[in-house]
């Protein structure tokens, strides 16, 4: 099982029945593939649909129905179209139960940086800042290191996405919860030791009792 699948499977376990969930483009979008059948959730795409469905069958694409990455999608029964003011009203107003976002860096305060690398990559923040500021639960899903370098740092060196603490960091090596006391290591990845995680993490990790291996189903 590759890193991305581990991450997506683990995040999927935190999705509860009845939630409204936003999945970011890329890795986060994989989470939808691993939801248990008995979990009934609405996926939201910030460009304006509640009740996002899978890719449509060939030839049935509607140019007026895409996800936030611009890809063709379907709408599930009971879906609703909304404009951008309503979409971000729901996000900012705390009506979005969970957002799953990619990350470039997360720090000991639980602050996320995921929208620019000065002088190198300035795509813009899109909806990321509103999502991190407003969603009830913010899950950062990312591979643990970038070219061997830690992405979980004492303090982000990249511009922050928000100064709100994220709820959970899920990587292929660990599940980490930012708390008032700093980052707490809640679970380790399959076959990964606590020491492995420490070695790949630049921020201090707090360990409370035994750290279980993450479940993936």
């Amino acid at each position: 099982m590759n890193a991305k699948e581990i991450i997506a499977r683990r995040v999927a376990l935190d999705v509860r029945d009845g939630m409204l969930v936003n999945l970011g483009i890329g890795l986060p979008s994989l989470v939808a593939n691993y939801l248990p059948d008995d979990v009934d959730v609405f996926f939201q795409a910030e460009n304006g649909v509640i009740g996002l469905g899978a890719r449509p069958p060939e030839g049935m694409e509607d140019p007026d129905l895409t996800d936030a990455g611009g890809g063709f999608v379907t709408a599930v029964p009971g879906a609703a179209s909304i404009d951008s003011a309503m979409s971000f009203g729901l996000i900012r107003g705390g009506h979005l139960d969970m957002t799953v976002l990619g990350g470039l860096q997360v720090d000991a305060r639980g602050y996320l940086a995921n929208w620019m690398v000065p002088g190198k990559m300035v795509p813009g923040m899109g909806g990321a800042m509103d999502l991190v500021a407003g969603a009830r639960k913010v899950v950062v899903s990312m591979v643990h290191t970038a070219k061997g370098e830690p992405k979980i740092l004492p303090e982000c060196t990249l511009p922050l996405t928000a100064t709100r603490r994220v709820s959970l960091i899920v990587t292929e090596m660990a599940v980490i919860e930012p708390t008032d006391d700093g980052l707490v290591l809640r679970e380790v990845g399959p076959g990964v030791s606590v020491e492995d995680v420490r070695a790949a993490t630049a921020a201090e990790l707090h360990i409370v009792g035994d750290v279980p291996e993450m479940r993936l189903t």
Partner: protein
């Protein structure tokens, strides 16, 4: 009763240096024929306010390629390398605004509010130079209203009175922008008789719309 005008006639109303609010999200729900008419005319120096600059060859991307944009107020430019290149070359001045803040600033411009108080962007580069207002012990950025000289709107239907409706994720910024410009030009997919859009289905009342784009060129 509105009159429908040809794309060329409408493009000629738009002077050099105008501030244009343009609907769409990665070119979904963007008035493509109006953009084509502006490119054909070749007058530019526009400030474009939009969610993003789409991709080369699509929607606002065509204005970028044609060199008609001197300033862009957008949430995302990541899928248009030409915008990034022109930004680095100093040809386009890009102001990046969080998506939820952007749509709310446009709404404020349209509905006569003095600004937007949002927690989005606090503690990030977005906050630089902006006033922070305390309300009941919480901090909020004060973001200013945005209005346009023109709004270029894409809709599903327009009736002869200019009432508009929208389809699925092609709503996005369109209904909000239709409130926030001195002159509103709507590009409907279909023009239908009065009554074909029932009162409860109208999303932009015709009194907001100045011109409809005609069916033919």
């Amino acid at each position: 009763m509105k009159t429908a005008k040809k794309p060329r006639e409408l493009a000629e109303m738009v002077p050099e240096g105008a501030v244009l609010l343009i609907g769409g999200f990665m070119a979904v729900g963007t008035p493509e024929r109006m953009i084509d008419a502006l490119v054909e005319r070749g007058v530019g120096g526009f400030t474009v306010v939009a969610n993003d600059t789409a991709m080369p060859g699509h929607g606002i991307g065509k204005l970028v390629t044609a060199g008609l944009i001197s300033r862009a107020i957008v949430s995302h430019i990541g899928l248009n390398p030409e915008t990034q290149a022109k930004m680095i070359a100093g040809e386009i001045d890009v102001e990046l605004v969080p998506q939820g803040t952007l749509v709310e600033r446009i709404r404020a411009g349209g509905v006569g509010l003095g600004g937007v108080l949002t927690a989005t962007g606090l503690g990030t580069p977005v906050a630089d130079g902006k006033p922070v207002v305390e309300v009941d012990g919480k901090s909020f950025l004060l973001e200013k209203p945005i209005r346009g000289d023109f709004a270029l709107i894409r809709c599903k239907h327009a009736d002869y009175k200019g009432n508009l409706d929208y389809a699925l994720t092609a709503h996005n910024f369109n209904p909000i922008m239709a409130m926030a410009a001195d002159t509103v030009i709507a590009e409907p997919q279909e023009i239908v008789p009065i009554g074909a859009i029932p009162p409860d289905a109208v999303k932009t009342p015709g009194i907001l719309v100045d011109h409809l784009l005609s069916r033919g060129n």
